[in-house]
Amino acid sequence: MTEINVGIGELKVSSDKDSVIVTRGLGSCVAVCLYDRIAKIAGMAHIMLPSDNGRDADHSARFADTGVPRLFEAMVKAGANPKFMVAKIAGGARMFDLPGGSQLLEIGARNCKAVIAALESLKLSLAAADTGKDYGRTVELSVASGELRVKAIGRGVTII
C-alpha cells in the first residue's frame, strides 16, 4: 500500500487503487475528501482557514473558499464524474480552551462551516463527517473503497 501524503495546505488526487491518501495531525484544520465511487478516484485537501479574503496568489488548498473548488477541479481533471462524487470531512477541532472562551478558539468550527458551504455551492453531498470536539486527528482515505479512517490519540480508529 502506497501512502500519498497531503501536507498542510496541499491537495492530492489519485486513482491508484493500491494507495491511501493521508494527512497527519489535523487540529483546527479540515481534511476535505472527495470520492468518485464508480471511477474510483479519490482526492483530499488540507484546509487551514475559511477564506482567502481575495489575497489568493498561489494554487494551494489553504482556504476553504478556493481550496475546495480546486480539489473539485483536480478530481474532474483526473476523470471523476461530479454525479458520482461524494464528500467526507474530518478535523476542525477546538484544540485550546480558555475560561470565558474566546472567538479565536472557534477557528475549527468556522473552518467546518466554510468547507460545508463550499461543498454545497458545488452541489456535492456530504456523506459523512467527523468534526469538532477537542482532539487532533490523522486521516487516511482509501482510493480503492473511499473509506475514510480517522485516528486520534487514545481513541482508536473510526471509519466513516
Binding site: 501536507g7 498542510i8 497527519r24 495531525g25 489535523l26 487540529g27 483546527s28 484544520c29 487551514m48 482557514l49 477541532a93 484544540m95 485550546f96 480552551d97 480558555l98 475560561p99 474566546s102 479565536l104 478558539l105 477557528i107 475549527g108 482532539y135 487532533g136 486527528r137 490523522t138 490519540i153
Partner: protein
C-alpha cells in the same frame, strides 16, 4: 507583510538572545525557588522558521506532545507555545514535584504543574520582550493540551486572525543536576507583527 526570509539580522539576533537570556534566567530562579533545588534553563538555539519546519523540529505531525499555550494581546497580538515531547513533559512534572517515580499519565496535578512552568517561562519572555520592544503585551492564562504535534502547532498558529508565515523558534533546555529536558518555545504573531516586533527591538 514584512517577510523575514533572509533570517534575523545580526542585531536582531543579538537583542533576542539577550532578551531570552534575561527571561530564562528569571524563570530558572523562580523554578528553583518553587522546587527548592537548582533548576537551570538554557536556550541554545534561536531561529525564524516556517510552520512545516517547526512541526518537524518539535518531533513531526503525529508525535505526541504536551504544550502550554498563552494568547497575548495589546499593541501586537499572537500566542506563545511551550511544547515538550510527552515523555519529557512527564519527566518535567516529576522533576518539579520532586518525585522519584516517573508519571505515566498526565493527571490534574501534572496539568497544573505544566501550566505553572509554561506560565512562568512564557510570561517572563513576553514581559522582557515587551520591555525591550517598548510594546504593551498582555498574556492570557495558560492552556495545557496533550495531543499530536501537528494538531497543536497548526491550531495555535491558525487561531490568529491573520496567520503568520514565519514563527520565532527558541529551543529550550531545562535541567537539574541530573536530568536534561528538551522543550520548544514558539512565538506566533499576527501576520505582520513579527516584523514590527523585530524592528522595534532593533531600533532600540
Amino acid at each position: 507583510m514584512t517577510k523575514i526570509t533572509s533570517g534575523l539580522t545580526f542585531k536582531q539576533r543579538e537583542m533576542l538572545e539577550r532578551i531570552i537570556k534575561l527571561s530564562t534566567d528569571s524563570s530558572a530562579v523562580a523554578l528553583s525557588e518553587m522546587t527548592s533545588k537548582s533548576i537551570f534553563l538554557q536556550s541554545p538555539e534561536l531561529d525564524v522558521v516556517s510552520l512545516d519546519s517547526i512541526i518537524n523540529i518539535a518531533g513531526g505531525s503525529e508525535s505526541v506532545a504536551i504544550c502550554v499555550c498563552l494568547i497575548f494581546s495589546g499593541e501586537i497580538s499572537g500566542n506563545i507555545l511551550l511544547i515538550f515531547p510527552r515523555a519529557s513533559a512527564l519527566k518535567l512534572i516529576s522533576l518539579i514535584l520532586q518525585e522519584d517515580v516517573l508519571r505515566e499519565e498526565l493527571d490534574e496535578m501534572g496539568v497544573s504543574v505544566l501550566g505553572e512552568v509554561g506560565n512562568l517561562v512564557s510570561s517572563y519572555f513576553l514581559s522582557t520582550l515587551s520591555d525591550y520592544a517598548r510594546l504593551d503585551l498582555r498574556p492570557s492564562s495558560p492552556m495545557v493540551v496533550q495531543d499530536m504535534v501537528g494538531a497543536i502547532v497548526s491550531s495555535a498558529m491558525l487561531m490568529l486572525e491573520r496567520a503568520p508565515e514565519e514563527i520565532l523558534y527558541v529551543k529550550t533546555e531545562l535541567s537539574d543536576e541530573f536530568d536534561k529536558i528538551d522543550g520548544h518555545l514558539m512565538l506566533f504573531t499576527d501576520e505582520d507583527s513579527l516584523g514590527i516586533l523585530l524592528q522595534a527591538i532593533e531600533t532600540r
